[in-house]
Symmetry: C2
């Protein structure tokens, strides 16, 4: 039996190459034509290596999103609720108009109904990020800008949802008008007490 | 060559049987395990008949949604903007917690990135319904309940988006709290002028 000198090192290198190749393929050609073969070619690894380690294309995409999810997210802290929400809206718009990110999320959402792993990675990615960003609302409540008991998670969800609705369903543009209206809407709604749990 | 007595009649019967069988399978078993074979079995037709007519599973789902889209939609008209939006929110919640409808939309959204037909049917279904429901906003503007120039389509989109975000991404429950908060949020946002086109 042949043994490689640094199996852990080689394994980590393969993983990094496959992750990078996947994002690169998604950026260049989107999700529609993505295959394990194309990722393997670009990464310079054998496709059987990918199948053995990640089972299928959905498994690769799930790992890429899990890795993105582990990166540090900077939560806006501009000093005002309006400013924070404007910055957050711009961040969501920027992320979802970045071709590899849009393609990755589109691909995982497409895989989720038939892949428990894709569904779990998506759910964890979003719920974790929304919980972190809810800090924006807690700070605004502390400053007296929003009613006490405002549900921070619900506010952040309301800022995000219209972007995903367009990305995944109507495929209309994620333009500046959508961003402005969504941010103004969530700001006014939060102020009005719409996100105080009533039920 | 054998000819059937009423080819149009048979064709229409096959179509009706396949449409009904698809909704029935979606209601019983959801989208995850749906196949053309199962639809064919339930409809009592040969699967090659389905493949010849609709190409694949996505084609069948697209036709089912196109048929649903052609049904008459009753737009709420309660006499007030708040009442109309509450009724609309309850209608969206009811539709998306109806197992066959939820499964159909989930399946088509999953197919859309790789099926131009699925993508087009989804886009048409939503944009057409939102345009019709925008009448709620036009009436509210005429009654002086909302600022002039409020974008009715954007208001309806804002009422729908959070439900689809949960259905397709986070898989959190489409419960009464979501409905109440979404309706109150859209109502307050529309009143505040958030949906007047600024850009």
């Amino acid at each position: 039996m042949k043994t490689s000198i640094r199996p852990g090192g080689r394994s980590a290198r393969v993983r990094a190459a496959v992750m990078a190749a996947t994002l690169d393929e998604l950026a260049r050609n989107g999700y529609a034509d993505l295959t394990v073969e194309k990722i393997a070619d670009r990464a310079g690894v054998n496709k059987t290596t990918i199948y053995r380690r990640w089972s299928d294309l959905d498994g690769v995409l799930a790992e890429v999103l899990a890795e993105l999810g582990a990166t540090v997210v900077v939560i806006p802290d501009t000093g005002s609720f309006d400013g924070d929400l404007r910055t957050l809206g711009a961040m969501v718009q920027a992320a979802l108009t970045d071709p590899p990110v849009a393609a990755l999320l589109t691909g995982l959402a497409a895989a989720a109904p038939r892949s428990a792993r894709a569904a779990a990675v998506l759910r964890d990615f979003f719920t974790e990020r929304y919980r972190l960003a809810a800090e924006i609302v807690d700070r605004a409540v502390a400053r007296g800008e929003l009613p006490p008991d405002t549900d921070g998670y619900a506010v952040i969800e309301a800022v995000s949802a219209p972007f995903y609705h367009r990305l995944l369903l109507t495929r209309q543009p994620l333009d500046d008008r959508l961003t402005t209206q969504t941010v103004l809407a969530a700001t006014a709604a939060a102020r009005s007490g719409a996100f105080i749990p009533h039920l």
